[in-house]
């Protein structure tokens, strides 16, 4: 049985005449340790699909299971706990909290856990070490480069070692050099056993994934390993 399953999920926004289908009907299965890339044009529904897979957005229809837990059957507080323990998020434009320094930003998911202060600090420093930013722990986000901010966002996403990492356009605001560094970092995490689900526009970034699904007009148009999707074959 697959680790993450989205079964016939759909998402509509608005009501009546103004009702818009962001995702029409999608089935996705993701294996543990897999690096899945969701591609598509702007407005295709890929970020909406990622939000539904990540427990951030209730589907209008269908269900999302992680293991054997239907995450949308959980109450909001339990779902928040589930997100904290099982998922890490890397958002577009880094989304660091501007008034917290690098170390504090990385510690954020631990703020509501039962770790001691020393443990929290140790975990955060360890995450920063993994992304190569241990020496910039006490800088504010506006005192480091865009590439470094993205790596801080990755450290924050992995600090509590969640089984799944969701990344929405993680290199959207980076130049090619920094993009490559971030993608190598994600690939390394995946090699260490991290399940990653990433949304991207970039076919170049998609090459780092094990599998790609192409979303268009709210449905999956193509799915398969990189070479097959790129060749236009259906799976």
């Amino acid at each position: 049985m697959s680790y993450i399953r989205a079964i016939n999920v759909a998402k509509y926004f608005g009501t009546g005449e103004g009702k818009v289908a962001a995702v029409r009907s999608i089935d996705v299965s993701i294996e543990q340790g897999e690096f899945l890339c969701i591609m598509g044009e702007s407005g295709a529904g890929k970020s909406t699909l990622l939000s539904m897979l990540g427990g951030l957005l209730s589907p209008s229809r269908g269900e999302v299971l992680i293991g054997d837990i239907n995450i949308y059957e959980l109450k909001p507080d339990k779902r928040a706990d589930f997100r904290r323990e099982f998922m890490g998020f890397i958002f577009q434009s880094f989304q660091l909290v501007p008034y917290l320094n690098v170390l504090e930003n990385v510690q954020l998911p631990l703020a509501v856990t039962h770790h001691t202060e020393a443990e929290k600090k140790e975990l955060a420093m360890s995450a920063l070490e993994r992304v190569g930013l241990k020496d910039k722990a006490h800088r504010l986000p506006n005192q480091i480069s865009g590439g470094e901010q993205e790596r801080v966002a990755i450290a924050r996403a992995v600090v509590n070692e969640p089984p799944v990492l969701y990344a929405d356009e993680p290199t959207g605001n980076l130049d090619s050099k920094n993009s490559a560094e971030v993608m190598k970092l994600l690939k390394r995490l995946n090699a260490e056993g991290q399940t990653i689900v990433m949304v991207t526009h970039s076919r170049h970034n998609a090459e780092y994934a094990d599998r790609i699904i192409e979303v268009a007009d709210g449905t999956i148009e193509e799915s398969g390993p990189l070479f097959q999707a790129a060749a236009g074959a259906s799976v």
Binding site: L56, L57, A80, R83, F89, Q92, Y99, L100, E104, A111
Partner: protein, 385 residues
């Protein structure tokens, strides 16, 4: 890293925002403190001045009276078992438990005299106490200073045809008319005021007094208590509170207090609205952040705690600074409102009340914004990025 660190860091690193939030609440708290303190001090001052203005307790010798009627026809009345009071009784008044509330004690002795075919009532008084108590008196000439000086009421002066500087014979003794009272519209117009010791000699009642008027500061104590205490000290006397005077004074103070409470309530309402609007604005501005908190696994209660903790800190600062500013404003206000700045006293309940009020308003006004933030859908919040 704890939730409180997030709140404290936010406040520490957004100084301008905190400044405006504190300022919004501070203005409200300072206004209320200033208004309440100014009102209290003015109220005390007014009460003090009103208490000094005339007597509010009258003490007369106790006597048994009998009203005689027969077949519905009034045959007049008579007094018997008439007791007398002495100057020692007047001194006893200053020994009661609430003696600090006794402002003036003015013993009086009455005696009738005849001059040029006209009869009049001479009243022996302690001129210092009498003149202090009857501040509304206006005198043509001078207030009496020497023992043989008299002060004559307007009607009495016309009756005896005397003016300041003239002489007036009372019971064979010649007095100098030091001054004549302007018409007062009271019984004072027909009286001749002489010094108490002289009146005791003239009417052959050494050491005796016929009536004692007392001006008591009854602002902070019930007048009934003072009446009871004087009655206990002077069992042979009848002690009566001039209810009309007492109630009139209390009414004035009551209205003054109601007015200040109304204004304070209005200011507090405006202050609460300022905090509410500012907190709502702050939450809207932080939509992105709140979305991140929610996405990474903060519960609704965690988000509420962060926002309410920030509101608590801001309110605490606003309460403390607001109290200090309010007291400062009171001093300035009093110097504008009064010619002579009244005694400035601090009420220990006000600082505690100011901080408590500030926290209650800050938290109440932030409750809805905090709830709105905690209920924010993380994907909706992140969509605004």
């Amino acid at each position: 890293m704890k939730l409180r660190d997030i709140a404290v860091n936010n406040l520490r690193r957004r100084k301008a925002k905190v400044f405006f939030l504190v300022a919004g609440l501070l203005v409200g708290v300072a206004s209320v403190v200033a208004l309440m303190t100014t009102t209290r001090i003015l109220e005390e001052d007014i009460a003090h001045k009103m208490d000094e203005f005339g007597a509010n307790i009258i003490i007369t010798p106790r006597s048994e009276g009998l009203s005689l009627t027969y077949g519905g026809l009034s045959l007049g009345g008579l007094s018997f078992d008439l007791k007398e009071m002495s100057e020692d009784d007047a001194a006893k008044i200053t020994t009661i438990k609430n003696s600090e509330n006794i402002r003036y004690v003015s013993p009086k002795l009455f005696g009738v005299f005849e001059n040029r075919g006209h009869k009049a009532l001479a009243v022996g008084v302690d001129f210092d106490a009498e003149l202090e108590m009857k501040k509304w008196w206006k005198i043509t000439g001078q207030p009496p200073k020497a023992e043989d000086d008299v002060l004559v009421g307007k009607e009495a002066a016309e009756k005896f045809r005397v003016a300041p500087g003239d002489t007036l014979d009372i019971k064979g003794k010649t007095f100098k008319v030091a001054g004549v009272l302007h018409p007062t519209g009271s019984q004072d117009d027909g009286l001749v005021f002489i010094s108490l010791p002289v009146s005791q000699q003239l009417f052959d009642k050494p050491g005796k007094v016929g009536m004692i008027e007392v001006a008591a500061l009854c602002h902070n104590c019930p007048i009934a208590e003072i009446v009871t205490q004087i009655s206990e000290a002077l069992p042979a006397a009848k002690v009566t509170a001039v209810q009309q005077v007492v109630e009139g004074r209390m009414d004035t103070l009551h209205n003054f207090r109601k007015f200040s409470l109304g204004i304070s309530g209005l200011i507090l309402m405006v202050g609460s609205m300022v905090v509410f609007v500012t907190m709502m604005g702050s939450v809207t501005e932080r939509t992105r952040e709140i979305g991140i908190f929610s996405a990474i696994g903060f519960r609704r209660s965690h988000i509420m705690r962060i926002i309410l903790l920030e509101a608590f800190v801001v309110s605490l600062i606003a309460g403390v600074v607001g109290y200090a500013s309010g007291i400062g404003a009171t001093r300035v206000l009093l110097s504008f409102l009064t010619d002579k700045v009244p005694h400035f006293s601090l009420d220990p309940i006000v600082p505690v009340g100011a901080v408590f009020l500030s926290i209650v308003i800050g938290l109440t006004a932030s409750l809805y914004p905090a709830m709105a933030a905690s209920r924010m859908d993380p994907s909706e919040a992140l969509r605004t990025l």
